[in-house]
Symmetry: C2
Subunit: 414 residues, 2 copies
């Protein structure tokens, strides 16, 4: 008997038949003798609709009200999931973020979980065999306002809950059956990984892989919670881990140089043209952005000519408008031309074996050059290399790199 | 300067344009120097969809989970209304039931408001000119579970809030411009009432008039909160009270014998056939129904023959299935045939002048008899007479009674 947390994404709870199907999976885990807590997303499409409502009223809205609005989708699915479990004779109740509580920072719209009090949920698991169904994506601030964790935040709820409940595993049920070496919709021969390290998964997630939210992987790594990604719509076929297990790198025998190619079209490039090459300019750019809670990803600054230089960086497209406003209002940047380009894609290769291998970057640059793909910006970490290219080359670049690093597996069975 | 509570129903917040329109009405009240608190329903159609989800999973569901699900529609509109007000430069914030808190009884699905702590909302009105936007229809129990007040419950939220804030008036914005002598869709010459007493409005509401929820009128009467019913979609035309004002009967100069004809197709008739006419049978019927929180409306028992009698009563169609189950499981009723009929309508005439006039019932019975309409059940109160008839005669009966009591006004302007 183990205690596990299972999380169902939006497509897994898209309607009543899907919720019933998900409830059946929970029932199967209980039949195996496990204690289960369930985390649910909103029905697919609902959160987008709610965000759209907020934007229709005002593109620059009070994030506290935005949170109150968009968190409601998970209230619906947590209640419905509890009903679907009860129908199967399983004692269950729903929990909204404020009821547990899931205490969060007050950075509305992308709050961080500070603390989850799992005492009552654990007590009910032990004493009453009660299944807790938790509304994902949401929490409450110390001021008793509802907050949300940013897109994909239900993954983070699930991992944080698994840590709070000292669960053995966190199963993320989604519409794909695991983590692939590249997006199978782009690379036909992409291979499903049986295991992947936290570090690699973290880099893939922050590079555009939509399978897990970056923050959830970071938390899983910190809390050492094994996370399994698996499909709601496939039956397990005898294997203990039918999906991909995200775990410590010590638990992975064979470490590949490159384990995956990720791409992202969610970033926009911002260029400050002919910036005076004097101290304080970088602070004038990145200070105000940080204060406005806007994440900056890739940064590049060319060698200066005539005491002037171009400074380029990327931000999330969703935050581009806000970023431009912040920069235009910054007195230290007065008179400086600021351009942006949304027509870019970030392509990344990730692998823990990179640490001990040379020439990984060279392989990437050669493969792209051979296809005539120009690299606009480069950024690297210990186990990742990312490049920014024109968006139209995205698929070509992903396929070229997947082949260049020999990631092909057997043809994926439909 | 006055403090007022304004409430917008589902059609008044059906989409972003409607919410913007409603926000403009609030802004107009503020421009007049009033302090305003706003109560909102869910977007029209949303609550029905959420109820349908619950029913799809199970017709007999845990009311606590049902409440968690269906209360979410108001979370959306309260946040959106706050955003729409902020856009107009008005300081505003949304409040969910648990945040205020609106403390309710734990009869889930149709809870009663026990207490509203209006201190913080009033403080912010006075100190910060902040407009509170309250999610209607919902509250929280002492066990910190979300609960709802039953259909139309946002009216009750608004009236209770007006009482808690010691507001001068509660304006209920809806899709009709007041209370009519009969449903204008049935009676072309129905007349809009400028004023109506709490007592009459209460009887009309409990007899099928959908303009206000019964419970809200009861509360307005008890708390002495003047309630104005008016249209969101019409502009006021110079009058202080463009709609209908529901107030104390002392404030109404001319008291009509009959002020309105109401009809309801929401009730079903239940008949227990050949019940032994012995003590304890009525308790065996109505005790278990009361315990299950099922309201029984009209009750009639014929004079017994051969020590047996038929007993007939009505319950809400929504609760019929549950009522039948309760009765079938009741040992004291074992072996008794229980029939039900959903094909019935309740027609009621209401007027405070009835207290001092004779012959009011006779006029009703004659008017119906002249059209060949059979009366199945009769029930009366001090200011109301209701009859149960076959549903197909509904419109005919309403028109006949409206004419019989001389309620015609000028042809309603579209």
């Amino acid at each position: 008997m183990a205690r596990i947390v299972v999380k169902f994404g939006g497509t897994s709870v898209a309607g009543i038949p899907q919720i019933e199907n998900a409830a059946a999976k929970v029932a199967a885990e209980i039949a195996r003798g496990h204690q289960v807590a369930v985390v649910v997303s909103a029905m697919s499409g609902v959160t987008n609709q709610l965000i759209e409502y907020c934007r229709e009223i005002s593109p620059l809205h009070d994030a506290r009200e935005y949170d109150a609005v968009v968190a409601s989708g998970e209230n619906v699915t947590s209640g419905l999931m509890a009903l679907a479990l009860q129908k199967r004779g399983i004692q269950a109740r729903s929990w909204q973020g404020w009821q547990i509580p899931i205490l969060c920072s007050d950075v509305h719209g992308k709050a961080r979980i500070l603390e989850i009090d799992g005492t009552e949920i654990a007590r009910r698991m032990d004493n009453d065999n009660e299944v807790a169904v938790i509304a994902g994506f949401q929490g409450v601030t110390s001021r008793q306002r509802v907050t949300t964790l940013g897109r994909g935040g239900s993954d983070t709820t699930a991992v944080a809950l698994a840590a709070a409940l000292q669960a053995e595993r966190c199963d993320i049920y989604t519409d794909v059956n695991g983590v692939y070496t590249a997006d199978p919709r782009i690379v036909q021969h992409a291979r499903k990984l049986k295991k992947i390290s936290y570090e690699e998964m973290y880099e893939l997630a922050s590079s555009g892989s939509k399978v897990l939210m970056t923050r959830s992987v970071e938390m899983a790594m910190k809390m050492n919670v094994p996370v399994q990604v698996l499909s709601t719509f496939e039956e397990p076929i005898g294997s203990d881990y039918p999906g991909t297990l995200v775990t410590r790198d010590e638990d992975i025998v064979e470490q590949e140089v490159v384990n995956g190619v990720a791409h992202s079209k969610d970033e926009a490039k911002v260029t400050l043209v002919k910036v005076p090459d004097i101290p304080g300019i970088a602070a004038g750019v990145f200070g105000p952005l940080a204060e406005a809670n806007i994440n900056v990803d890739m940064i590049v600054q060319n060698v200066s000519q005539d005491g002037k230089t171009d400074m380029t960086f990327t931000v999330s497209k969703a935050e581009l408008q806000r970023a431009m406003q912040v920069l235009k209002n910054e007195p230290r940047l007065a008179g400086i031309e600021i351009r942006f380009d949304e027509d870019v894609a970030k392509i990344s290769v990730v692998g823990i074996g990179m640490k001990s291998h040379a020439g990984v970057a060279q392989t990437m640059f050669t493969a792209l050059a051979e296809r005539g793909i120009n690299i606009q910006v480069i950024s690297t970490s210990e186990i990742k290399i990312s490049v920014l290219i024109a968006a139209e080359y995205t698929e070509l670049a992903v396929r070229a790199l997947h082949a260049a690093y020999g990631l092909e597996g057997d043809r994926k069975l439909a």
